[in-house]
Protein backbone atom coordinates (compact mmCIF):
# COMPACT_ATOMS: atom_id res chain seq x y z
CA UNK A 1 0.00 0.00 0.00
CA UNK A 2 2.88 2.35 0.85
CA UNK A 3 4.50 1.57 -2.46
CA UNK A 4 1.29 2.22 -4.27
CA UNK A 5 1.00 5.64 -2.65
CA UNK A 6 4.59 6.47 -3.54
CA UNK A 7 4.04 5.48 -7.15
CA UNK A 8 0.88 7.56 -7.30
CA UNK A 9 2.65 10.57 -5.78
CA UNK A 10 5.51 10.34 -8.27
CA UNK A 11 3.07 9.94 -11.17
CA UNK A 12 1.13 12.99 -10.00
CA UNK A 13 4.33 15.04 -9.68
CA UNK A 14 5.39 14.12 -13.19
CA UNK A 15 1.97 14.96 -14.59
CA UNK A 16 2.08 18.50 -13.18
CA UNK A 17 3.83 21.09 -15.41
CA UNK A 18 7.17 22.07 -14.10
CA UNK A 19 6.20 25.73 -13.98
CA UNK A 20 2.87 27.54 -14.08
CA UNK A 21 2.87 29.70 -17.15
CA UNK A 22 1.06 33.10 -17.23
CA UNK A 23 -0.86 33.06 -20.52
CA UNK A 24 -1.95 36.35 -22.06
CA UNK A 25 -3.72 37.22 -25.25
CA UNK A 26 -5.35 40.24 -26.79
CA UNK A 27 -9.10 40.59 -27.02
CA UNK A 28 -9.98 42.79 -29.99
CA UNK A 29 -12.83 45.28 -29.91
CA UNK A 30 -14.26 46.93 -32.99
CA UNK A 31 -17.05 49.44 -33.48
CA UNK A 32 -18.70 51.37 -36.24
CA UNK A 33 -20.38 54.73 -35.85
CA UNK A 34 -22.74 55.72 -38.63
CA UNK A 35 -22.80 59.30 -39.78
CA UNK A 36 -26.12 60.47 -38.45
CA UNK A 37 -28.01 63.55 -37.49
CA UNK A 38 -30.27 63.86 -34.47
CA UNK A 39 -32.82 66.59 -33.94
CA UNK A 40 -34.04 67.21 -30.43
CA UNK A 41 -36.83 69.78 -30.38
CA UNK A 42 -36.53 71.50 -27.05
CA UNK A 43 -39.38 73.96 -27.32
CA UNK A 44 -42.10 75.34 -29.55
CA UNK A 45 -42.32 79.04 -30.27
CA UNK A 46 -44.82 81.75 -29.51
CA UNK A 47 -46.13 84.28 -31.99
CA UNK A 48 -46.98 87.77 -30.80
CA UNK A 49 -48.71 90.54 -32.69
CA UNK A 50 -47.17 93.93 -33.27
CA UNK A 51 -48.94 97.11 -32.25
CA UNK A 52 -50.83 97.40 -35.53
CA UNK A 53 -51.77 93.70 -35.66
CA UNK A 54 -50.18 93.44 -39.11
CA UNK A 55 -47.47 90.99 -38.14
CA UNK A 56 -47.45 87.92 -35.97
CA UNK A 57 -43.91 87.02 -35.13
CA UNK A 58 -41.69 85.28 -32.64
CA UNK A 59 -39.40 88.33 -32.77
CA UNK A 60 -42.14 90.76 -31.74
CA UNK A 61 -42.36 91.76 -28.10
CA UNK A 62 -43.79 88.80 -26.22
CA UNK A 63 -42.82 86.33 -28.91
CA UNK A 64 -40.58 83.35 -28.28
CA UNK A 65 -38.45 81.54 -30.83
CA UNK A 66 -38.76 77.78 -31.23
CA UNK A 67 -35.67 75.87 -30.24
CA UNK A 68 -34.02 72.61 -31.16
CA UNK A 69 -30.66 70.91 -30.75
CA UNK A 70 -29.11 69.25 -33.75
CA UNK A 71 -26.36 66.76 -33.03
CA UNK A 72 -24.31 65.53 -35.96
CA UNK A 73 -21.18 63.45 -36.29
CA UNK A 74 -20.60 63.87 -40.02
CA UNK A 75 -21.22 66.18 -42.92
CA UNK A 76 -24.80 67.46 -42.70
CA UNK A 77 -26.77 70.60 -43.35
CA UNK A 78 -29.89 72.13 -41.84
CA UNK A 79 -32.69 74.09 -43.44
CA UNK A 80 -36.27 75.21 -42.87
CA UNK A 81 -39.19 74.51 -45.16
CA UNK A 82 -41.19 77.54 -46.31
CA UNK A 83 -44.65 77.90 -44.83
CA UNK A 84 -47.71 78.69 -46.92
CA UNK A 85 -50.53 78.48 -44.36
CA UNK A 86 -51.37 78.38 -40.71
CA UNK A 87 -52.26 74.96 -39.33
CA UNK A 88 -55.83 73.73 -39.58
CA UNK A 89 -56.10 74.05 -35.82
CA UNK A 90 -56.03 77.83 -36.21
CA UNK A 91 -59.34 79.26 -35.06
CA UNK A 92 -58.85 82.92 -35.97
CA UNK A 93 -60.90 83.98 -39.00
CA UNK A 94 -59.20 84.95 -42.26
CA UNK A 95 -55.84 83.88 -40.87
CA UNK A 96 -54.28 83.06 -44.24
CA UNK A 97 -55.93 85.90 -46.15
CA UNK A 98 -53.27 88.26 -47.57
CA UNK A 99 -50.70 86.62 -45.34
CA UNK A 100 -47.12 85.77 -46.21
CA UNK A 101 -44.72 83.84 -44.05
CA UNK A 102 -41.00 84.13 -43.47
CA UNK A 103 -38.75 81.83 -41.47
CA UNK A 104 -35.21 82.26 -40.30
CA UNK A 105 -32.91 80.65 -37.78
CA UNK A 106 -29.87 81.30 -35.68
CA UNK A 107 -27.26 78.68 -34.87
CA UNK A 108 -25.17 78.46 -31.73
CA UNK A 109 -22.97 75.88 -30.13
CA UNK A 110 -20.86 73.79 -32.50
CA UNK A 111 -21.87 75.95 -35.46
CA UNK A 112 -22.87 79.58 -35.42
CA UNK A 113 -24.76 81.86 -37.77
CA UNK A 114 -27.41 84.53 -37.47
CA UNK A 115 -30.55 85.18 -39.49
CA UNK A 116 -30.06 82.29 -41.89
CA UNK A 117 -32.87 81.56 -44.33
CA UNK A 118 -31.52 78.92 -46.69
CA UNK A 119 -29.44 75.83 -46.14
CA UNK A 120 -26.51 75.97 -43.75
CA UNK A 121 -23.79 73.35 -43.69
CA UNK A 122 -22.89 72.08 -40.26
CA UNK A 123 -19.16 72.20 -40.81
CA UNK A 124 -18.39 71.29 -37.21
CA UNK A 125 -19.58 68.10 -35.59
CA UNK A 126 -21.25 68.17 -32.20
CA UNK A 127 -24.42 69.78 -30.92
CA UNK A 128 -25.71 72.89 -32.61
CA UNK A 129 -28.44 74.92 -30.93
CA UNK A 130 -31.05 76.11 -33.41
CA UNK A 131 -33.34 79.02 -32.69
CA UNK A 132 -36.22 79.25 -35.18
CA UNK A 133 -38.15 82.44 -35.88
CA UNK A 134 -41.40 82.72 -37.77
CA UNK A 135 -43.05 85.90 -39.00
CA UNK A 136 -46.49 86.16 -40.61
CA UNK A 137 -47.25 89.44 -42.32
CA UNK A 138 -50.57 90.83 -43.59
CA UNK A 139 -50.23 92.79 -46.81
CA UNK A 140 -53.68 94.21 -46.09
CA UNK A 141 -55.97 93.88 -43.14
CA UNK A 142 -55.06 92.78 -39.65
CA UNK A 143 -54.74 89.57 -37.72
CA UNK A 144 -58.11 89.11 -36.12
CA UNK A 145 -58.64 87.83 -32.62
CA UNK A 146 -58.29 84.09 -32.21
CA UNK A 147 -55.63 81.43 -31.89
CA UNK A 148 -52.98 80.88 -34.52
CA UNK A 149 -50.97 77.71 -34.96
CA UNK A 150 -48.13 77.10 -37.38
CA UNK A 151 -45.65 74.31 -37.94
CA UNK A 152 -42.10 74.86 -39.13
CA UNK A 153 -40.19 71.92 -40.57
CA UNK A 154 -36.55 71.80 -39.47
CA UNK A 155 -34.62 69.47 -41.73
CA UNK A 156 -31.24 67.82 -41.32
CA UNK A 157 -29.80 65.91 -44.26
CA UNK A 158 -26.46 64.92 -45.75
Amino acid sequence: MKNLLKVAAVAAFVAVPLQAQAVTDNIPFTGTVSATCLINVTGGGTLAANAGFTTLSSVNAGGIAGTADVTSNGSFSVSLDPIANFDVSTTAPNADLNTTFATSYDLGGANTTTGATGTTALSNTGTTNVSVDLTATKSSGVFEAGSYDATVVLRCEP
Partner: protein
Amino acid sequence: MDYLKIKKISATSFLGCALALSLLPHQAAAQAMSPMRGEVKSFADAFALKVFPANPYNHRIRIEVKVYDQNFRPVTGARVSPAEFTLGGRFARPVNVIVPFEGHAKRKVRVCTESIPFPSQPKTTTIKAQVCGKFLGERIQ
Protein backbone atom coordinates in the same frame (compact mmCIF):
# COMPACT_ATOMS: atom_id res chain seq x y z
CA MET B 1 -53.80 36.92 -67.54
CA ASP B 2 -53.16 40.33 -66.10
CA TYR B 3 -53.32 38.78 -62.68
CA LEU B 4 -50.59 36.29 -63.59
CA LYS B 5 -48.39 39.03 -64.97
CA ILE B 6 -48.64 41.07 -61.80
CA LYS B 7 -47.86 38.01 -59.72
CA LYS B 8 -44.67 37.31 -61.70
CA ILE B 9 -43.39 40.87 -61.36
CA SER B 10 -44.09 40.83 -57.65
CA ALA B 11 -42.06 37.68 -57.15
CA THR B 12 -39.12 39.15 -59.02
CA SER B 13 -39.39 42.32 -57.01
CA PHE B 14 -39.39 40.36 -53.81
CA LEU B 15 -36.18 38.50 -54.64
CA GLY B 16 -34.42 41.62 -55.81
CA CYS B 17 -35.49 43.56 -52.78
CA ALA B 18 -34.46 40.76 -50.45
CA LEU B 19 -30.97 40.83 -51.98
CA ALA B 20 -30.81 44.58 -51.70
CA LEU B 21 -31.88 44.47 -48.08
CA SER B 22 -29.12 42.04 -47.25
CA LEU B 23 -26.55 44.47 -48.65
CA LEU B 24 -27.57 47.30 -46.36
CA PRO B 25 -26.12 47.91 -42.91
CA HIS B 26 -28.33 46.35 -40.24
CA GLN B 27 -27.07 48.26 -37.26
CA ALA B 28 -29.42 50.39 -35.22
CA ALA B 29 -28.28 53.12 -32.91
CA ALA B 30 -29.95 55.73 -30.77
CA GLN B 31 -30.13 58.27 -33.54
CA ALA B 32 -32.95 59.98 -35.34
CA MET B 33 -32.41 57.80 -38.37
CA SER B 34 -29.74 55.44 -39.54
CA PRO B 35 -28.26 55.04 -42.11
CA MET B 36 -28.48 58.40 -43.82
CA ARG B 37 -26.72 57.53 -47.03
CA GLY B 38 -26.78 54.44 -49.14
CA GLU B 39 -26.48 52.94 -52.58
CA VAL B 40 -28.52 49.93 -53.58
CA LYS B 41 -28.21 47.77 -56.66
CA SER B 42 -31.27 45.80 -57.68
CA PHE B 43 -32.15 43.31 -60.39
CA ALA B 44 -35.83 44.02 -59.95
CA ASP B 45 -38.08 46.87 -60.98
CA ALA B 46 -37.80 48.31 -57.51
CA PHE B 47 -35.15 48.66 -54.84
CA ALA B 48 -35.47 48.25 -51.14
CA LEU B 49 -34.05 50.12 -48.19
CA LYS B 50 -34.08 49.51 -44.50
CA VAL B 51 -33.81 52.49 -42.19
CA PHE B 52 -33.96 52.73 -38.44
CA PRO B 53 -35.86 55.77 -37.14
CA ALA B 54 -35.05 56.42 -33.51
CA ASN B 55 -36.71 58.41 -30.78
CA PRO B 56 -34.12 60.45 -28.88
CA TYR B 57 -36.63 61.60 -26.30
CA ASN B 58 -37.66 59.93 -23.08
CA HIS B 59 -41.32 59.89 -24.06
CA ARG B 60 -43.26 58.29 -26.87
CA ILE B 61 -43.59 60.17 -30.13
CA ARG B 62 -45.50 59.69 -33.34
CA ILE B 63 -43.26 59.08 -36.34
CA GLU B 64 -43.94 59.13 -40.04
CA VAL B 65 -41.54 57.88 -42.69
CA LYS B 66 -41.95 59.44 -46.12
CA VAL B 67 -40.15 59.11 -49.43
CA TYR B 68 -39.38 62.17 -51.56
CA ASP B 69 -37.56 62.69 -54.83
CA GLN B 70 -34.69 65.13 -55.26
CA ASN B 71 -37.09 68.06 -55.44
CA PHE B 72 -38.97 67.01 -52.33
CA ARG B 73 -41.97 65.81 -54.25
CA PRO B 74 -43.52 62.70 -52.69
CA VAL B 75 -42.69 59.45 -54.50
CA THR B 76 -46.23 58.14 -54.81
CA GLY B 77 -45.29 54.61 -55.81
CA ALA B 78 -43.00 54.03 -52.84
CA ARG B 79 -44.14 51.60 -50.17
CA VAL B 80 -43.13 52.16 -46.57
CA SER B 81 -43.78 49.57 -43.91
CA PRO B 82 -44.72 50.76 -41.40
CA ALA B 83 -45.24 54.32 -42.61
CA GLU B 84 -46.67 55.62 -39.34
CA PHE B 85 -46.10 54.32 -35.88
CA THR B 86 -45.55 55.30 -32.30
CA LEU B 87 -42.05 54.87 -31.00
CA GLY B 88 -41.15 54.57 -27.35
CA GLY B 89 -38.55 56.74 -25.71
CA ARG B 90 -34.91 55.92 -26.47
CA PHE B 91 -35.99 53.29 -28.92
CA ALA B 92 -35.46 52.54 -32.61
CA ARG B 93 -37.16 50.18 -34.98
CA PRO B 94 -36.58 49.04 -38.57
CA VAL B 95 -38.69 50.36 -41.41
CA ASN B 96 -38.67 48.82 -44.87
CA VAL B 97 -38.94 51.07 -47.90
CA ILE B 98 -39.49 49.83 -51.45
CA VAL B 99 -39.00 52.36 -54.22
CA PRO B 100 -40.00 51.61 -57.83
CA PHE B 101 -37.55 52.59 -60.56
CA GLU B 102 -40.50 53.61 -62.78
CA GLY B 103 -38.46 53.13 -65.92
CA HIS B 104 -35.29 54.84 -64.72
CA ALA B 105 -31.92 53.12 -64.56
CA LYS B 106 -31.02 55.11 -61.43
CA ARG B 107 -33.18 56.82 -58.90
CA LYS B 108 -32.20 59.17 -56.09
CA VAL B 109 -34.64 59.49 -53.24
CA ARG B 110 -34.80 61.02 -49.81
CA VAL B 111 -36.24 58.91 -47.05
CA CYS B 112 -37.35 61.20 -44.26
CA THR B 113 -38.27 60.49 -40.68
CA GLU B 114 -40.69 63.12 -39.44
CA SER B 115 -41.97 63.69 -35.97
CA ILE B 116 -43.74 66.30 -33.91
CA PRO B 117 -42.55 65.80 -30.36
CA PHE B 118 -44.64 68.45 -28.65
CA PRO B 119 -47.97 68.75 -30.45
CA SER B 120 -50.02 69.64 -27.39
CA GLN B 121 -47.91 72.33 -25.82
CA PRO B 122 -49.56 75.74 -25.51
CA LYS B 123 -47.28 77.28 -28.10
CA THR B 124 -48.32 78.80 -31.37
CA THR B 125 -45.34 77.57 -33.34
CA THR B 126 -44.42 73.91 -33.53
CA ILE B 127 -41.11 72.68 -34.87
CA LYS B 128 -41.46 69.53 -36.91
CA ALA B 129 -38.19 67.61 -36.99
CA GLN B 130 -37.36 66.02 -40.30
CA VAL B 131 -34.24 63.92 -40.71
CA CYS B 132 -33.66 62.82 -44.27
CA GLY B 133 -31.29 60.26 -45.70
CA LYS B 134 -30.19 60.27 -49.32
CA PHE B 135 -30.27 56.98 -51.18
CA LEU B 136 -29.36 55.98 -54.70
CA GLY B 137 -30.95 52.98 -56.36
CA GLU B 138 -29.28 51.51 -59.44
CA ARG B 139 -30.96 48.97 -61.62
CA ILE B 140 -28.78 46.15 -62.90
CA GLN B 141 -29.96 45.10 -66.35
